[in-house]
């Protein structure tokens, strides 16, 4: 039986934060907030620097292959 510090700490607070007894409301709101934060980033356009990076990786590899031939 493993008891972590997190679980022990969970017993100290009674207001809506007891482990396993989180209010559905609180859980929903945490989930909503997390997904909002995640989606904000996930819907941003891909920064140019990453496209450049992949392009240069590809070019480097192609250059290497040409050298080998």
């Amino acid at each position: 039986m493993e008891m972590t510090s997190d679980e022990q700490a969970g017993g100290d607070k009674s207001r809506g934060a007891v482990r396993g007894k989180l209010s559905t409301d609180a859980q929903d709101k945490i989930g909503e907030k997390l997904r909002g934060m995640y989606e904000t980033v996930a819907t941003e356009p891909v920064p140019e620097k990453f496209l450049d990076l992949l392009k240069s990786l590809e070019e480097a590899e192609q250059g290497q292959k040409r050298d080998e031939e």
């Binding site: 997390l34 997904r35 909002g36 995640y38 891909v46 990786l57």
Partner: protein, 188 residues
């Protein structure tokens, strides 16, 4: 062979938005997140031979990203331990004063979770992976993922002092906050 690599590259590009979202929520810092994504792409490119066509590319990339994050995290661990307690105390008192959780609180609170719990919560709660997939990505048992998610939720609720939905107002500043760099938690 060249064409296979070209389609691999397209798949990588397609995965970048999700990789960034994972990295930003995991690190709480856009610059650090982008560094992680960059490293992940370089590693994925060099390991493309070990990726099996038809398997879950996102899961494979997430695994590379989180492994990179952890090897960096181990280097920074002492720093994080030094500040952890004071930040949690500060956040709790802030929540008590305002009785309201804004996005800045949430982002900081997320940063204060142990990384294994934060990671499990993000993978299951935001990235859309099942607990089974998350367990493969994290290299642990499914039950471990479930308990980490529960502990993460519980701890977030404590830090943010959330009792009901009323604590969360509409968030007009969310976009603005996320598009700028927040001060690093260590500087608080």
């Amino acid at each position: 062979m060249m064409q296979v690599k070209a389609s691999f590259k397209e798949s990588l590009v397609g995965a970048i938005p999700n990789l960034r979202a994972f990295a930003v929520t995991l690190t709480g810092n856009v610059d650090r997140a982008d560094d992680l994504v960059q490293e992940t792409l370089v590693k994925a490119w060099s390991k493309s031979d070990s990726y099996e066509e038809g398997t879950h590319l996102h899961a494979w990339l997430f695994t590379i990203l989180r492994n990179t994050f952890y090897s960096e995290f181990r280097k920074r661990k002492r720093e994080v331990e030094d500040t952890d307690g004071s930040i949690v105390a500060k956040l709790s008192s802030h929540a008590e004063q305002t009785g309201k959780m804004d996005l800045l609180d949430f982002k900081d609170a997320l940063t204060q979770l142990p990384p294994d719990q934060r990671e499990a919560l993000i993978l299951v709660g935001a990235s859309g992976f099942t607990c089974e997939e998350a367990s493969v990505i994290c290299g642990c048992a499914v039950g471990t993922i479930k308990s980490r998610v529960n502990r993460a939720r519980s701890k977030l609720t404590q830090i943010l002092d959330v009792e009901s939905g009323d604590d969360f107002g509409p968030d007009p500043t969310a976009q603005a906050i996320l598009s700028t760099n927040l001060p690093d938690a260590k500087a608080v």
